[in-house]
Symmetry: C3
Subunit: 256 residues, 3 copies
């Protein structure tokens, strides 16, 4: 079986930066199969990248190699890391991008990438996706071990997700992402919710908790337990983000 | 030869939903090669998905496995189907997404996906792309037969494309899609047209039928027989949609 | 090792044109692995395509097959070409798309694609990506030699990049591209610049030359030697294009 490498970046595809990374990978690991995860993370949005990465990281099989590059600090002294997390490998800048995949892991080993064939003096100061992370992933694909890449790293940068507060009569969280459909994804775990929950937020909008988007009429608000197990708010056949003008960071209150 | 699986969705790539599907496929079918067809179908536009799917479905070789997920009814009792159509396999929600590939098929066999390993009680109610269609495609890739997925389905949902009316002096159809270039794709088959045809539509716009876009001056309207064999209207080096403010559904009249 | 084929187009993915190309390739070359380079070149922008292609062309290994289709002259008598450039293969319309990869090549051989199995009389007049370039790439992937595709072509269309003028006290170039991050990419080679260079342009904007984006405060202009070796202008954690309203073609002056 060929090595399987996924790519997540905030590069878009239109400038050819992603293609440059692919070329570097294929040169070093000719049989690797590269799956695009996404290149549409909003520029520099590390936390969004962290959430998106967590959506597929463990769905890939053990041994998969994941590359994640959202890297506004490129060229500074921020470290480059490689890790084995629950038997999947990841290479990424040490800026919090791995926060969500580390959080619930059973086993994590991290190293700083310092291998001189990878962190070369002649690397660019603006494009480590091509010059550091792509070669690191390719070397892992062709047999280099994690520990070959550099020394253990014990203090990775981890970003905190916003907290959820649980009260006797209500649970309060917030919108942590708005997806392509305009669904408001919250940080409130679905297993905290009773089936009669009411979800309310800014400007008096209220959404009933239902099993599926289609349990309300087209154009109406509905709350569901989303596919990652968290509460989300949608408008059937529409966009909750447009309808409610809600955005990331808006508080969400759940009552019985 | 590894199984070849294509993906068409309305998910975009930015939220990681597509990557989740890929992870599920690769876990079950480690050697499968996944080709992205598109993830940019407008949210919920089933008929657009049906047209786009038909543009490449038969160009892939026999044995290819196609996944199509534009699924506004996810979580309701709409069925999940798998089909063999002219020796290519497809898995999709039963909502009309296969309408255009079924239409001119020589041989079609359909089943409802009910296999308990695929339609699991613990599947989400909002993301069958990951929980039903990806595993169904992967199982087909690793040797499961169509009939193993569930019982025959004889009454798939089929959407009607708008009709073309043929008169003695004119043919009337409509714009069924506007592509990225702003070309207006119609439902009028090219073989109905004489070489002296004149194509006219709303607000008095008239386009001469030519062999190629470049047969008119830059900025001018031109009608051509498009690459799928249907009449389309373009502006050379420009956008017919912008120029004429036409959109899907606009009637198009062809006269000699 | 399977043949590796990359695709660059201005088709977007939403209409299924790219998927049609992939289907044609896979039918003729079933084991080929197709890497998407980009489909987001602005419609008809040949020179942009040429720059983007150059960003990854040589990073892929010898023997790679690259397909590039930005083809506003499709259906006219513009030629289709195939070339071996520094041991990588490329198929593209003969309209200047290969200008940047030819420029610094050590070895280039070009042919016009005339092979009757590829340039078929029944090909469409609007979609040679599917009907000419995809089959040409697939045939190269399965053993056809460059010279089998057609006769030598000695006079390819080559587009001139804008000139850089070097004076005693200053160097003047221009913005040749704006990338997804809003960075202004210029045609001024980095090795022309002293470390004390000042970069100035329209409306009195001045950017200091630094080693990395993060050497200035967030929101400030900075000039760096970009990852392709050319001067580029950025705003840290922002968009230089938005901040300065600069665009392609704007003159850029570098002084000590």
């Amino acid at each position: 079986v060929s090595a399987r490498i996924t790519l997540l970046t905030d590069f878009g595809t239109r400038d050819g930066y992603v293609a440059a990374m692919k070329g570097v990978i294929v040169t070093l690991a000719p049989t690797a199969i590269i799956d695009d995860a996404t290149h549409d993370i909003a520029p520099g949005e590390i936390l969004t990248g962290a959430y998106v990465l967590a959506r597929y990281f463990r769905l890939y099989p053990p041994g998969s190699i994941h590359v994640a590059v959202v890297d506004p600090g490129v060229g500074t002294d921020r470290r480059a890391l490689a890790a084995s997390i629950d038997d999947r490998l990841i290479v990424a800048p040490d800026n919090g991008l791995i926060s969500e995949i580390v959080k619930d892991s059973r086993s994590t080993r991290l190293v700083e990438i310092t291998h001189p064939d990878i962190v070369r003096p002649d690397r660019s100061s603006t494009f480590h996706g091509r010059d550091v992370f792509a070669p690191a992933a390719a070397r892992l694909a062709t047999g280099l071990q994690l520990d070959d890449l550099g020394p253990a790293l014990d203090d990775p940068v981890l970003l905190q997700s916003p907290p959820v507060s649980i009260h006797a009569d209500r649970t309060v969280g917030e919108v942590i992402a708005v997806d392509r459909f305009g669904n408001l994804i919250t940080n409130i775990p679905g297993d905290l919710l009773s089936s009669e929950a009411k979800v309310s937020f800014r400007n008096g909008f209220v959404a009933p908790l239902r099993h599926t988007f289609a349990a309300v009429n087209p154009g109406e608000l509905v709350a569901v337990i989303g596919s990652d197990g968290f509460l989300e708010i949608a408008v059937r056949d529409g966009s909750a983000a447009e309808y409610t003008k809600a955005w990331r960071g808006i508080p969400i209150t759940v009552t019985r």
